[in-house]
Amino acid sequence: MEVERMNRDECDILRLKGRLDLAGAEAIEGFFKEYRMEPMQGRRVIVNFAEVPYISSSGLRVLVSALNDVKEQGGEMVLCEMNVGVEEVFEFSGLNDVFKIYREEDDALQAVSAP
């Protein structure tokens, strides 16, 4: 599991790559621990799932924790480009009501950029 980080329009784009299962979650927990240490005031974050073929509850936990960290500091975190299987796991867990999920990265960018 890897995280590619980039910036678009002053927004952090985190492109996840690989299976977000127990092993994948342990792998990206380290990234999010460091990410949390950075100044996050009002940070806008888009997590792109285009290269995530699979997610389990272990992956959901890491994302919920990251969402809470970003929100606590007045920021916003949204998700995009999920495949049908991954999207269904969010629905079954009820977390599709907790996260804002967009079809395309551009849609997500537009949503977090809107005043």
Partner: protein, 157 residues
């Protein structure tokens, strides 16, 4: 859970070290068994998810207490019910499956942690789930998913 077959009829038997990186081996093996018996792609994904959640639970909750740090998985195709049955054995503390079954909906974060989410997902994506505490200290979580083939395209029908 009804019509459980004896484990001697399992098509697949794995003993796995409690390493998160190895869970994918169990997931893919169960998925392949389901594919062989014609399960549709969407349900194969769900079966893989259920297998993943139960094996991950065994690693994080049960194997910590086990000096051998391993767990076992068996899977079989049940001709009677046209379903895939999976057994996952560990030597953990055990829990009350009825309490898990009672939960209809998990509270939403951030007000509460997402503990119990794994078994909640297993219940959602399988047709039957049960949990047996053995006298020898070995527990077994069992789940079943019926085989529903891919819908035929109009041209094929």
């Amino acid at each position: 859970m009804t019509n459980l077959m004896p484990n001697s009829q399992a098509d697949l038997c794995l003993s796995l070290r409690a390493d998160p990186k190895l869970v994918v081996i169990a997931c893919k093996a169960v998925r392949n068994l389901a594919e062989i018996h014609g399960m549709n792609e969407r349900d194969c994904y769900r079966l893989e998810l259920a297998t993943d959640e139960v094996c991950s639970n065994a690693i994080t909750h049960a194997c910590e207490r086990d000096e051998h740090r391993n767990y076992r998985l068996e899977a079989a195709y049940d001709e009677v019910d046209d379903s895939i049955v999976v057994w996952v054995y560990d030597r953990g503390e055990g829990f009350d499956i009825e309490r898990v079954k009672e939960v209809k909906e998990l509270p939403k974060p951030p007000n509460c942690p997402v503990g119990g989410l794994g078994l909640h997902l297993v219940r959602k994506v399988t047709d039957d789930i049960d949990y047996l505490c053995g006298k020898n200290g070995e527990n077994c979580l069992i789940f079943r998913k019926r085989v529903i083939p891919e819908p035929k395209l109009a041209a094929e029908a």
